[in-house]
């Protein structure tokens, strides 16, 4: 196959270049917009497959543009980057289909799809960032690109949510800027290198290294919604359903979690982080977040709010697995990055369908919705069961490896934590399923005027992603499955320490 040294850049430019065109398209050119959206998203998936194929054959892409002396914008397509790029490319395609249906005849579609595209470009940049400086550039772009999406509806609640979102994420962005500067000043490089770049600094100034770790994790923790800086996430769920889906599954929270992975493994190196004694507190924060998010989720009547708190909890699995400092746990963490994305996007799209088709937005209104929308609810159920951790679905795989990793790291209490969390997951998801399938719809709900048949654009995407949930769980050991790919990555990060 022909060689394409600029392939990572081209993948970045597909959505980055589409954004201004989409913004400029007149509001009424709906067909053209839909066609362009789908074409670009599909091309992107194809390019990512090509990239993955090349990477599996040992081709390492590496692009640099010098910005200041010694400081580069650096794109690289290492296996870890590829994993995140693939997740975002595939889920972008699905969410785009969903958005077309969701926003049909709605206002401001040009703006929506423009920023949507920009948001995905930022995610791809975050994934392929080869140093913390480049990561920062795209991290800030992501903040800018998601803000118009969060306030898309333009209501007072949306504007308030947008303001809170902006305050949190820009504060996090400033902290990351400070951390990047400090890393640059201390280590003389911001490159992501397996094993880290902080060894010398930590030997000379352990205090500074610890402070830097705390600063960077705090900065990334804002987007990853770690307690106590998670407050924006449940508020931001006022955004339209496809935005919530993308925010919770791929874009924002995952950008934070992915950043934590990079910082722990490739800025500090897991051994060094352990030696500095900073992984312990990180494990504690992750554990608290997991339990706290689940407890708050149980109290929510609004379906999207419940899903949002569930995200707070679930994304911390990734942080937990990273901080446990065992290769097996790392596999669980990285696999969960994919698994949680696929599961959560299914649930948010299904929740959006309930609101669109039945006007159901609260858990207490869900009686009998299974019969009204069997396809959507089947998808939701599958994802919920996977999230709880039932075998053989995706969520089980993550939890299994995390538990194994906990044992390997000598932290047996992790099993109790995961069991407790699963029980809580069950406690806040099973009542939904019970209401949907085993209760009859109230007469007034059955005759509600809000009922309308949803289009295939809306109905198909959650079922497709639910299919992914099933496939990546059942075929977890097949080549190119998320699990196999994460094994490959972890071998690299731990220098063959498996």
């Amino acid at each position: 196959m022909i060689d394409m040294p600029l392939l990572p850049l081209i993948i970045l430019l597909t959505s980055l270049g589409a954004a201004p065109v989409l913004l400029a398209l007149p509001e009424r050119s709906a067909r053209l917009r839909t066609g362009l959206n789908l074409a670009v998203a599909a091309v992107k998936v194809a390019l990512v497959i090509w990239l993955a194929w090349k990477a599996a054959h040992g081709v390492v892409y590496d692009l640099r543009l010098s910005v200041l002396p010694g400081l580069d914008l650096h794109l690289q397509a290492d296996p870890l980057a590829l994993m995140f790029v693939a997740l975002s490319a595939v889920l972008w395609l699905v969410t785009t289909i969903y958005s077309v249906g969701y926003l049909e005849r709605g206002p401001h579609r040009a703006r929506f799809f423009g920023f949507f595209s920009l948001c995905v470009a930022a995610t791809v940049g975050i994934a392929m960032a080869g140093n913390l400086f480049t990561f920062l550039v795209f991290y800030e772009l992501l903040t800018l690109a998601t803000y118009p999406l969060v306030i898309h509806r333009g209501t007072a609640a949306a504007l308030r949510a947008g303001r809170i979102y902006l305050i949190y994420t820009l504060a996090g962005g400033l902290a990351l800027l400070l951390g990047t500067l400090a890393l640059w000043g201390l280590a003389g490089t911001t490159d992501f290198v397996p094993g880290g770049v902080m060894a010398e600094v930590a030997a000379e100034r352990p205090g500074a290294a610890q402070a830097l770790f705390v600063l960077l994790i705090a900065a990334l923790g804002v987007k990853a919604a770690l307690v106590p800086v998670h407050g924006w996430l449940p508020i931001a769920m006022v955004a339209p359903a496809p935005v919530s889906a993308l925010l919770h599954a791929v874009a924002v929270v995952k950008a934070g979690a992915f950043g934590i992975v990079r910082v722990v493994y490739e800025v500090f190196g897991i051994d060094l982080a352990q030696g500095l004694g900073v992984t312990g507190p990180l494990i504690a924060v992750a554990a608290v977040t997991i339990i706290y998010g689940s407890l708050r989720a149980m109290a929510q009547d609004d379906i999207k709010a419940r899903l949002a708190y569930s995200t707070v909890s679930q994304v911390s699995y990734i942080t937990l697995g990273v901080a446990l400092a065992s290769p097996v746990a790392a596999i669980g963490a990285l696999a969960h990055l994919i698994h949680q994305g696929v599961m959560k996007i299914t649930m948010f799209m299904a929740a959006g369908n309930l609101a669109e088709g039945l006007g159901v937005k609260k858990v207490s209104q869900m009686d009998g919705v299974g019969r009204a929308m069997p396809g959507t609810m089947a998808a939701f159920t599958l994802a919920a069961l996977a999230m709880i951790g039932l075998p053989p679905f995706a969520g089980f795989i993550s939890k299994w490896y995390l538990a194994q990793g906990g044992i390997a790291a000598g932290q047996d209490w992790v099993i109790a934590l995961l069991l407790g969390s699963s029980l809580l997951n069950a406690a806040y998801f099973l009542p939904l399923l019970h209401r949907a399938w085993f209760r009859d719809a109230t007469p007034e709900a059955a005759n509600a005027p809000a009922r309308r048949k949803i289009s295939l654009w809306l109905a198909a995407p959650p079922m497709i992603t639910a299919g992914f949930v099933l496939v990546i769980g059942v075929l977890a050991n097949a080549p190119f499955s998320p699990l196999e790919w994460t094994r490959f990555i972890v071998t690299r990060e731990f220098n063959g320490g498996l």
Binding site: L23, L65, S66, V67, L68, P69, L73, R111, L136, V137, E140, L141, L144, P148, I151, G154, L159, G162, L166, L170, L174, L177, L178, L181, A182, W184, G185
Partner: protein, 492 residues
């Protein structure tokens, strides 16, 4: 009689001057003459650039008189970057002005309206002064050119002819004259002390209390001209009430003349003692905070933009002070980057604000989200310019801020980092007041053609704002240009 050989540096100063005279004499052809003169000037600057790229520093003795007493023109990387910047902004603003004043074409036999008649002569006169400042290698010449700039700038500020503009212009004129007077006094004292006025001579001068006093006088005069807090009082009203193309020139270029001379003095003189440098940083901090707070309170878009200039100028002073005297030989680079970034972005932003005002009919921030016509491209330009002024990556403003903070951290001056961060947060807060309005824009139903929201006049602000963001990726080459001829004697 010495043979007249038109060297490009002389031309860069003379071409706009001739253009100004021609445009004054033939007001109907003024736009054509103006754009022609700017184009010719850009060509001369390109020739200067070629020479500087070859030799590093280029000097030309004027009229056969060399240093120490004569007039000498000198160009290095810093001067070249400023020349190029000025040509770029002049071209963009000139094109923007074409349409801004187009609606006022008079019927045959009628006199030209003031704006159309005087914009080009004043603009070209301003360019003469700006280029003169960049290329001067001695203090007296600098003073003369500063006065040329003052004349042109005050004229531009009152061009709109409204009562508010005239009142603001009067304050501006007093401030400008006072500043120039202090510079002149300082120059006189320097000459009495050292018997020389050229930079090279100053660098070798013996320090003395009288010389320090002379520099202090010049410093205060220049701070007044650059609108450093608390000497900024004249700026917001003058910039906000001028017509948009004039505001763009005043904010992007005129205040930079004072800053540029400060940079040159920092290179040449014994002036920047640790205490003075810290004082500049502290005043800069005051500007960042006070300008930010006032921008938050401003009720009109152009006033908001003008107050943001006060804050951004403050940040440039912080950049100069970031690493103390030890690091001054590097700090100027951060300051220069911020000067360039601010100039490009602010010119774009003022042009965009002018377009928004023209299209919507007013610039009250609280009502910018409703109109029959949407100035979409102008809003885009405003947003892009804001990204650079806030300092979000990868814009040129971000690179400038990064350099500022990098040096501050290297010197352990965390307080300057804190100031920069506070300034960033404030700028997010005040710009988002306008930007949120753009996002929740609602078209008021009215029987109007949908396409009137954009015009060719939107191109200059969009291009400038796009450059303000995109040039961040070219920071490497920009730094390489700045270092040509080693303006601060130290290799990077």
């Amino acid at each position: 009689m010495p043979e007249f050989a038109p060297d490009p540096m002389t031309l860069a100063i003379l071409l706009p001057l001739f253009g100004a005279i021609a445009a004054f004499l033939a007001p109907r052809a003024a736009p054509l003459i103006g754009l022609g003169a700017v184009g010719a000037m850009a060509a001369a600057i390109a020739a200067v650039g070629h020479a500087v790229a070859q030799a590093g520093t280029v000097t030309v003795p004027l009229g056969g008189w060399g240093a120490p007493l004569g007039i000498e023109l000198r160009a290095d990387g810093l001067a070249l970057a400023m020349l190029g910047l000025t040509a770029l902004i002049a071209l963009a603003v000139g094109l923007g002005a074409l349409s801004a004043f187009a609606g006022e074409a008079p019927a045959d036999g009628q006199p030209m309206p003031r704006q159309r008649a005087f914009f080009w002569p004043l603009c070209l006169l301003l360019l003469t002064g700006m280029n003169g400042v960049y290329l001067s290698a001695d203090l007296f010449n600098l003073y003369v050119m500063l006065e040329v700039i003052s004349l042109a700038a005050v004229g531009l500020a009152v061009l709109g002819g409204t009562v508010a503009a005239l009142r603001a212009g009067l304050a501006y004129m007093y401030a400008s004259l006072l500043g120039a007077l202090m510079v002149l006094l300082g120059v006189g004292f320097v000459y009495l002390q050292t018997g020389r006025l050229d930079f090279a001579g100053l660098a070798g001068a013996q320090g003395s209390p009288a010389l320090s006093a002379a520099f202090a006088l010049m410093l205060v005069g220049l701070a007044l001209k650059a609108a450093l807090f608390p000497l900024h009082f004249w700026l917001p009203e003058a910039h906000a009430n001028a017509t948009a193309p004039a505001s763009a020139l005043l904010s992007a270029l005129v205040v930079k003349a004072g800053l540029y001379i400060l940079l040159r003095l920092a290179e040449a003189g014994p002036f920047p003692g640790e205490a003075i440098l810290t004082l500049l940083g502290v005043l800069g901090t005051g500007a960042v905070l006070w300008g930010g707070v006032q921008a938050l309170r401003a009720e009109r878009l152009k006033l908001l933009v003008a107050w943001s200039t006060v804050a951004q100028i403050g940040l440039i002073f912080v950049a100069l002070a970031r690493a103390g005297t030890e690091g001054l030989s590097d700090s100027w680079r951060a300051a220069a980057l911020l000067i360039l970034a601010h100039a490009v972005a602010k010119a774009g932003m003022f042009l965009a604000a002018g377009r928004i005002k023209d299209v919507i009919g007013h610039d009250r921030i609280s009502e910018l989200d409703r109109s029959a016509v949407r100035p979409a491209l102008a809003q885009l330009a405003f947003a892009l310019a804001a990204i650079s002024l806030i300092g979000l990556p990868p814009s040129l403003g971000f690179i400038g801020k990064w350099s500022l903070m990098e040096g501050a951290m290297g010197a352990g001056n965390w307080h300057w980092i804190a100031v920069t961060m506070a300034g960033t947060l404030l700028s997010v807060a005040y710009f988002s007041r306008a930007l949120t309005g753009f996002l929740r824009f609602d078209r008021v139903r009215a029987p109007l053609d949908e396409h009137r929201g954009w015009a060719l006049a939107d191109a200059p602000p969009v291009v400038l704002a796009g450059l303000a963001v995109g040039l961040g990726l070219a920071a490497g080459p920009i730094l390489a240009v700045l270092d040509l001829g080693r303006p601060f004697g130290v290799t990077p």
